[in-house]
């Protein structure tokens, strides 16, 4: 699982990642606590999954200005 610490635009992030479907990769929200969002993913390399999630958000017009953290949930 991966986590995102994102204080704002959480609904858009959840919607974006829950509907992500490229190269067979998917994300699914598992939990939400404060600014922490935890996603399950079918990617084996979780570091790569966290980077992909961050890059996907940063590509959005509303995501370019966001300051958030992405990492592997331990």
């Amino acid at each position: 699982m991966i986590f995102l610490n994102a204080p704002i635009q959480q609904d858009k992030i959840i919607d974006l990642l829950n509907n992500y479907d490229e190269d067979g990769v998917s994300f699914q929200l598992k939990s939400k606590s404060g600014m922490k969002l935890v996603f399950e993913t079918n990617m084996e390399d979780l570091d790569a999954a966290a980077k992909l999630a961050k890059a996907t958000i940063k590509k959005q017009s509303w995501g370019t200005v966001l300051y958030f953290q992405a990492g592997v949930e331990k």
Binding site: I8, M35, S61, T64, Y67
Partner: protein, 457 residues
């Protein structure tokens, strides 16, 4: 806090998103950032020459100066190839990013931007002379193609490096922008030459860009021709004097410096990338000021600007935005919370190199009501102090670009060409910030002790 967040999401975030998604502003910011290798190379050369030449000359180390003369000469070449023609590099990067951000060919955009830049700057190398030349000497120069007036000799068709340094940045920005916008518009209107599929992609791309590029270059040429005909001067010279100099001068005002410092902190706190949103202002106004200072350092002339892009890093954002390295120290010394101490220990090493993401989200500071006040106030007070001290000339202005990961204090010392007073100012600011943070660290421990079990034994 939730109400505030809802309000922010409704009113502030859309504005920040709007600014952050204006493509030409993003291209402008990225254009500046892309020139970083060149800025660093030129800064390194200037710093090395200060160490090897300027100071030893003051100390009378003639033998040493002679021994390192080849290194100084090499540094001079590096400078000439980098910062001395900085506006040219910026024209390339600005044209590239602007065209690419609008989904057109970046390289063609870069070429158009550079062409526009060269058409706009003064193409006469003007040499001031102390006194009028004897008639025979003047005639000889005139025969060779120069124009001799009372106090100057000018050579047509010779671009001076003085017109390619940071003083011409706005020329590159405005005319590069105009040319590339015309190029993009024609590309989007599909006013292009279509080549058959059998033509290699590189050739096809060049032909596609042909009409838009020629049109853009001609329009800029016509504008410049008409301007020169009407006013008798080059557009670039006029822009430098009437637009760039006053705008950069406005960046020296307390209001602008403090406003930007405040906004960056507020943006960070609420999870918006402050320097990304304000990048065009930070880079567009204070980077040219810093480059002008490097030029002054190289030329040995008085500095023009006391507040530059690097001033924020040197005196305010030590350990990352918010000056968080001192918060980590305050936590390690005064916090009774085991969780905060664990984060502080983990975040301290990255914090020394101004990476504070672990503390921003680990502590966290973002959206942490207890830390809101010091996170905003400490950098603001640090900015006020650094601004006053810098404006009074008690420290050398920040002039040399140093990598942002340079540790606090060392950053201030190096950026000011090794002014120990700047290092002292950074330390004083850190101490002040430390005492601003301490009560809030204690408050955080107190609140935690009353509400949960995170207090250390």
């Amino acid at each position: 806090m939730q109400k505030l967040m809802d309000w922010l999401e409704k009113f502030v975030v859309p504005v920040a998103v709007k600014i952050g998604s204006i493509r030409w502003l993003v291209a402008l910011r990225d254009g500046f950032i892309s020139t970083l290798p060149i800025t660093m190379a030129g800064s390194l050369a200037t710093l090395l020459n200060a160490l090897l030449n300027t100071y030893p000359a003051q100390w009378g180390w003639t033998g040493f100066i002679n021994a390192v003369a080849p290194i100084v000469a090499i540094d001079g070449l590096v400078y000439n190839g980098s910062l001395a023609i900085f506006a040219l590099y910026f024209a390339v990067m600005w044209g590239y990013h602007l065209a690419a951000d609008y989904d057109t060919d970046g390289l063609s955009g870069a070429l158009v931007s550079v062409a526009a830049f060269f058409m706009t700057i003064n193409s006469n190398a003007v040499l001031p002379i102390a006194k009028a030349l004897p008639k025979a000497a003047a005639d000889t120069l005139t025969t060779a193609g120069a124009t001799v007036t009372g106090s100057t000799v000018s050579v047509a068709g010779a671009f001076s490096m003085a017109n390619m340094n940071s003083a011409s940045l706005f020329t590159a920005m405005i005319f590069g922008g105009i040319a590339v916008v015309i190029y993009i518009w024609l590309m989007k209107k599909d006013i292009t030459i279509k080549m058959p599929d059998s033509v290699p992609p590189a050739v096809s791309k060049a032909f596609t860009a042909l009409i838009p590029s020629i049109a853009a270059v001609y329009i800029v040429a016509i504008i410049n021709y008409l301007f020169t005909q009407v006013t008798g001067q080059f557009f670039g010279d006029w822009l430098s004097k009437t637009i760039q100099a006053p705008l950069i001068g406005a960046g020296q005002s307390a209001g602008m410096v403090l406003l930007v410092s405040l906004l960056v902190q507020i943006f960070w706190f609420f999870g918006i990338h402050g320097p990304n949103v304000l990048g065009p202002v930070l880079e567009g106004i204070w980077t040219p000021a810093q480059l002008a200072n490097i030029q002054s350092l190289k030329d040995g002339t008085p500095f023009k600007y006391f507040w530059t892009r690097g001033s924020f890093d040197a005196y305010v954002w030590f350990g990352g935005s918010g000056g968080t390295i001192v918060l980590l120290l305050a936590i390690l010394l005064f916090s009774k919370r085991a969780d905060e101490k664990t984060v502080a220990k983990l975040a301290f090493a990255p914090g020394l190199f101004n990476i504070n993401e672990p503390v921003m989200f680990g502590l966290p500071i973002v959206l942490n009501a207890i830390y809101f006040v010091p996170f905003i106030i400490a950098p603001f007070i640090n900015t006020v102090i650094a601004y006053v001290v810098s404006s009074l000339g008690w420290v050398a202005p920040v002039q040399v670009a140093v990598p942002w990961i340079t540790p606090p204090v060392l950053n201030a010392w190096m950026a000011t060409n090794f002014d120990w007073r700047a290092a002292l100012l950074a330390i004083v600011n850190m101490v002040i910030a430390f005492f601003i943070w301490v009560p809030f660290v204690r408050m955080s421990s107190k609140v935690a002790a009353e509400t949960d079990d995170t207090t250390a034994a």
